[in-house]
């Protein structure tokens, strides 16, 4: 990967920026913490998608399946097993990881459109099951009656959402560190190689299918974790978590921000929900138009998503300067 190098100081500021915003937001916008929590949950979801779609090149529209499974698992765990949120979160992550491993093992022999259709089929079946199994999931009324103990017995979940906000931030940070490490590891590089050219990777002895199943499992766990956060934060799970629309939104958010950079998920999910929030205030029908327009502009003009905005501006400046020089 050849990308422009920036000075270490600037890079450190860049790395600190998202987390600084997370902290500042906590104090600056106490009335909008649940919005912030929602954004962080979708950042985590988009980051999980980046690992499979961006890095490993696994075409999927089924990622809502893992998000939804994590949400329902966390909700049902709280209702039927234990109202300890940490325990419930771990259980939800474990279940989605297992489901990711099994479903991944079945479908990752395929690629391209076939794979896309299979992921679509799986999430559709899950969604319909959740809809039909009203006794378990509440069907289209959603899963209600989730009660949670305070985290560590101290931090109470409340309507102001302080606890949920910090909880989501900590979980996001943990997964971010893991994802960052993974994509820079030899394992992550081999995934990048598989995305570029599976034939080359097999020719150097890479067990392609095993690698893909491994990252699919990790990504499923991460998406399940985001789902568990959403169930815990809202104390409610709606059927929409398993909808195709959720898969679509997370894909749009990721592509908007930029794939294969981890931070693309941060930028994309934030922009998506901020724009949605603002433009929905102007007109409830208008926001999809705005988001759609942004997506088209991003894909056409910026090959690396909105994260590419800075470099693209620099290129434009250089070209303009070059043109000015030629004109002299």
């Amino acid at each position: 990967m050849t990308r422009g190098r920036v000075s270490p100081g600037l890079a450190a500021i860049g790395h600190a920026l998202p987390w600084a915003i997370v902290i500042v937001y906590f104090y600056a916008a106490p009335d909008y913490l649940s919005f912030g929590t929602q954004v962080m949950i979708w950042i985590l979801f988009a980051m999980s998608l980046d690992l499979v779609l961006g890095y490993a090149g696994i075409l999927t529209l089924g990622h809502a399946g893992f998000f939804g499974l994590g949400a329902y698992a966390a909700g049902l765990f709280a209702i039927h097993v234990s109202s300890d949120p940490i325990l419930g979160h771990v259980a939800a992550v474990g279940i989605t990881a297992l489901f990711g491993a099994v479903s991944g093992a079945m479908i990752l022999h395929t690629s391209g459109v076939t794979l896309l259709m299979l992921t679509l089929a799986i999430v559709s079946v899950m969604s319909e099951y959740a809809n039909q199994a009203r006794g378990l999931t509440g069907g289209d009324d959603g899963l209600q009656g989730i009660k949670l103990d305070p985290i560590f017995g101290i931090f109470q979940f409340s309507i102001f959402g302080k606890t949920a906000y910090v909880y989501a931030a900590v979980v996001l940070f943990g997964w971010f560190l893991l994802a960052w490490r993974i994509v820079h590891s030899p394992f992550g590089r081999s995934l990048d190689g598989i995305r570029q050219n599976p034939r080359r990777m097999r020719a150097i002895g890479t067990p392609v299918w095993w690698r893909l199943v491994a990252i699919y499992t990790i990504s499923a766990a991460m998406a399940g974790s985001a789902g568990a956060l959403s169930a815990h934060a809202a104390r409610f799970v709606g059927l929409s978590v398993l909808s195709l629309l959720s898969s679509g939104i997370v894909t749009v958010a990721l592509i908007l921000g930029g794939t294969r950079r981890i931070y693309g998920a941060f930028l994309g999910a934030t922009i998506y929900f901020v724009v949605q929030d603002y433009s929905a205030k102007i007109s409830p029908f208008f926001w999809e138009f705005v988001v759609g327009g942004m997506l088209i502009a991003t894909v056409l003009l910026l090959n690396g998503g909105l994260l590419d905005l800075g470099p693209a501006a620099l290129r434009l400046r250089d070209r303009w300067r070059g043109a000015a020089k030629d004109g002299e």
């Binding site: 030899p186 394992f187 992550g188 081999s190 190689g193 150097i204 890479t206």
Partner: protein
């Protein structure tokens, strides 16, 4: 004294696609250090033969043994791990990556580091160092930091060979290493081919007779999925049957 084990031993290898016979009872032995060229007209089954050896195709019958170990039924990547390595006719590289990373990823795979997700700093550095060394052996150490997409085609071919060598092959299949390389770069390829480690058994698939005669000690002629003859280059070029089907009646 027992004879040293054959690097590669192929017996009765056959493959049909329906009525089309693409490999017909092929027998082929390679001694360690062999330099054998596989030639034949278009459609003779050279590529099929390579795919059968590397495991991208399964034979209908016959055996393949690499240093005494049977390969039929193993997946391509398992065969690579056992030391059967190939290069591709068309540059098959990771074009988003630098030349060094292309080789380093192969080294990591060979060493089993490629599963490392969390602790890898020292090992990855070692892989990169070894990659640099491999590229320097190919005399393209200076290009290590460049994206392979930006390298001249001849240098891309050398990166491909560097990757293959970094896997420590026992048998190396070179699929037209000079194909598509412009004339002013071919000499470099010739030199590199001449310097390949002596202990590796090499089967080179090549159309360019210049490459074949300079490199190979032996020539195997494949026609319609069958071995027509095997012998030293001079014998091959003198053989009337070979001349008729391949070299042309007037050439050489």
């Amino acid at each position: 004294m027992t004879a040293p084990p054959l690097a590669l031993s192929v017996r009765g290898l056959s493959k049909n696609f329906g009525a089309l016979v693409v490999a017909q009872a092929i027998d082929l032995d390679l001694m360690p250090g062999a330099r054998v060229a596989l030639i034949g007209p278009n459609g003779a089954g050279k590529t099929t033969f390579v795919n059968l050896l590397t495991g991208f195709l399964e034979p209908d019958s016959g055996t393949i043994a690499l240093a005494g170990e049977h390969l039929v039924g193993l997946r391509p990547e398992q065969r690579v791990k056992r030391g059967l390595v190939r290069t591709h006719q068309i540059s098959t590289l990771l074009f988003d990556n630098t030349a060094r990373d292309n080789v380093a990823i192969a080294v990591a795979e060979r060493e089993g580091f490629a599963w490392r997700m969390l602790r890898f700093g020292k090992e990855w550095c070692a892989c990169r160092d070894e990659a640099q060394q491999r590229l320097e052996e190919m005399e393209i150490g200076g290009a290590a930091d460049r994206s392979v997409a930006q390298l001249p085609y001849g240098e891309q071919r050398l990166v491909e060979i560097a990757i293959a060598l970094s896997l420590r092959p026992g048998v190396l299949l070179l699929d037209e290493p000079a194909a598509g390389v412009p004339a002013h770069e071919t000499e470099l390829i010739h030199q590199v081919l001449g310097r390949l480690p002596a202990d590796i058994a090499i089967l080179i698939i090549e159309h360019d007779m210049d490459v074949v005669f300079r490199f190979a000690h032996e020539i195997v002629v494949l026609v319609q999925g069958r071995i027509l003859m095997r012998g030293p280059p001079a014998a091959a070029s003198a053989d009337p049957g070979v001349r008729a089907v391949y070299l042309g009646n007037t050439a050489v």
